[in-house]
Amino acid sequence: MRIAYLEDEVELAETVGGWLRNAGYQVESFKSGADCARAVENQRFDVCLLDWMVPDLSGAEVMARLKIKLKHAMPPVVFATGRDSEEDVVGILTAGADDYLIKPLSRPLLLARLQAVTRRWQGGPNASSTQHFGRLVVDYSRRQITLDGQLVVLTDRETDLALYLFQNVGRALSRELLIQVVWSLTPDIDTRTVDVHISALRRKLALSPEFGWRLVSIYRHGYRLERDTA
């Protein structure tokens, strides 16, 4: 799998490049945003890992340029940034990044995020299959979820939301996206509804670290369901 890696700090680029190569990625490092954008436009990359602050074109500008040039053929983008304020993070995600990482980078987190965004891009789990997550078993074809073998009683919307979350474990999902997917038939839905349903799922499906789950709010932007296997 080819990854375009934009980072102007040489030492950091070497370290992270090493992690990625060890994990089986083909890494192409760029020190300049313009070079990176040109390369991604002309060659096929499976994922981009962009630093925000680079001397010429910033990561955000690279992404904006790629979006215009490549449109739907654009590879998923993960940002690595030292800017961790809500404004910045939500800004990146709204601009179309698939996920973000706050520097200093941690190797497992980086690999998990990259895996999550690339997995989705190669297609989710088979829609007719069943998935086992420890105590939870998710049956996509029958639209049922069992906890310790007990069927969990969920409303239709909660089921939709839960199935979508389990299909996109590790991926940042914006409220708007969740509303589009789950409440596509209901116009003018209050974004609070999403939170109410998430809160219900957290409780009913016991999505807490005790059971290997973390249901993370990304500020007020959206949610990410993470498998916490450590």
């Binding site: 809500e86 609070r192 509804t193 809160s199 807490s208």
Partner: protein
Amino acid sequence: MRTELMRVLLLLVTISIVVTASGLLYRIDNLVYDLGQRLNWRPAPTDVLIVAIDQSNLERLGRWPWPRYRHARLLRNICASKPAAVGINIAFSEASDDSSADDLLAEAIAECGNVVLPLVIESTQTGGQLLETPPIPSLAFAAAGLGRIGIHLDEDGIARSVDLREGIGIAAWPLLAEDMLRVARRLPKKYGNTPTVNDTPDLGHRLVRETRRRFEYIGPPGSFPRLSYSEVLDGKVSPIVLAGKIVLVGVTAVGMGDALPTPVSALADPMPGVELQANVLLSMLEQRLITPLPLLASLLLAAILASAPMLWLPRMMALPGLLISLTWLVMVGIFSAILPIVSQYWFPPSGALVAGMLAFPLWSWRRLELARRHLDQELRQLRSILPESQASDEGINEIQTLGFEERIVCVQEAQRTMQNLETQRNEALAFISHDLRAPLAGAVRQLESEPNCQPERLLPSLRRALAMAQAFLWLARAEALDRRQMKELELVSILHQAADDLYSLASQRRLKLLRHLPDETVWIKGDFESLERSAFNLLHNALSYAPEETVVLLGLDPPRAGEIRFWVENDGPRLVAEQIEKLFQRFSRGDRADANSSGTGLGLYFVRKVAVRHGGTAGVTCSDGKIRFWVRLPSGEEPVTKDSSLSRLSRRIKALSIAELRRVSGAGGSEKK
């Protein structure tokens, strides 16, 4: 400033011109004029005499009217002394019963040859038609001249001016005074060449007046030398007294005839007509009749005087400006009061005075307005660069509604905020230079002294430095929190998230982390990151200090009385009050902390700061061997959205889904308890 000046100047000039042109404030003009006249007492003249019919004469010679032969005798006595001219201020408009007396008088007049008789222009008793009433023909024929004795009364009923020519249809008649001077051959050329008949067309029965002039008073009633009628009649007066003089004969007795109020006498002490005539005569004789300035000249002068204050007002502070403006008013008043005395021209000063009076308030108003604008601008700038303190919740637009003093208070507040920021900056510098530098310097020293140093020995101090920098960053953000920019948040999920984050620490320390959180969502207005960080800090504290194998609780009390309170509870010794106070201070670590703990000393300070920035507070309570740190926040009420049908619909859907959720969770939602 320059345009302001021009604006005020224009306004002042306009005011002065309008007031001057309209004569609106003639009372002020007259006041100034009268004041000038009162200041202008002069010694009694030597060549004008009044032969007065006073009270004592009436008592001696019997009641008025007197027989005309008596007047004839008087005239003969006077003329015997060769006066320059004699004017009689007694109207002989009807023939007396005794025609021989009329003849006697006519003879006496003719013999004198220099007697001027009065003509009265009066309205008839019925109908108000005007009539010129000369003396009876025999007398008029004998007289050397005929002159009007009319005096013009101003709007306020005071006699200040005369019309040099007046008449019905044609302004034909000169004044008695003028004719007397002509007879005496002492009429100044200036007045002498006034044409007696002019070209103006006959205006029918209207009264025509020409060449109005003000005249001067030499003093209050009684200023002219007087001779008693009876004494002259009896020949008791030496001929030298009358020789060559201009003599006026008339009634001065109080309550008789034609006394009028004058600028120099109060209303209670009117001046007899004969003395008025004497004053007019003297003014003419001395060429001191006062001409009002032509309109254009008055307007120009008024405009110049009105704009004068703008010469100094822009250059002066308020008090000197006020004092000089007041002085200026007095000066303009004195100038226009003295002008007629010095140059025989009258300038009505009311326009200039009003403008002078308004100059200071107008200019001060514009100045204040400028100051206010500047203040507002400064305030806006300050507000835009300062993180908003919760003390001033008003938006920037609402500056308009503030009073002047409130604005000053606002600026002072901003100033204080600036000072606070300065203090914070200094604290930050102190923090960086000491707390942050120390662990980093330690690590560097270790690396330098032992090249093959174990990473494990370096890591703690580096981690500590990193944690400090991070905590400091968060704190800086918390200090910049602005309540107006906070948005709706779900508090329960934030607390869950904080607990999730610390699960691994809890399991490391073999502590049980329990959540007493409600199943429902709880909404407040707040800042996501800082609230999550607050909960994290409280939990981290509890997990760091709680004895092993105990329970740490994270709880959220249901909203009550507009307040929401979340708390973290762990086992621990009771804290005393001063310890508690110290806990929430900046860079302080509890006494329980050991030297190499990762605590930054900013955790609880941060928690309190965030709570305060959200309009709440943070605190700690101890009971039964438990320590509970809590954060109290104002509960976010259901936001009142605009009542469109769409939002109503969305609310209904939400209500439905919540109800649905409750119904379902009611069956199996008790696993937590």
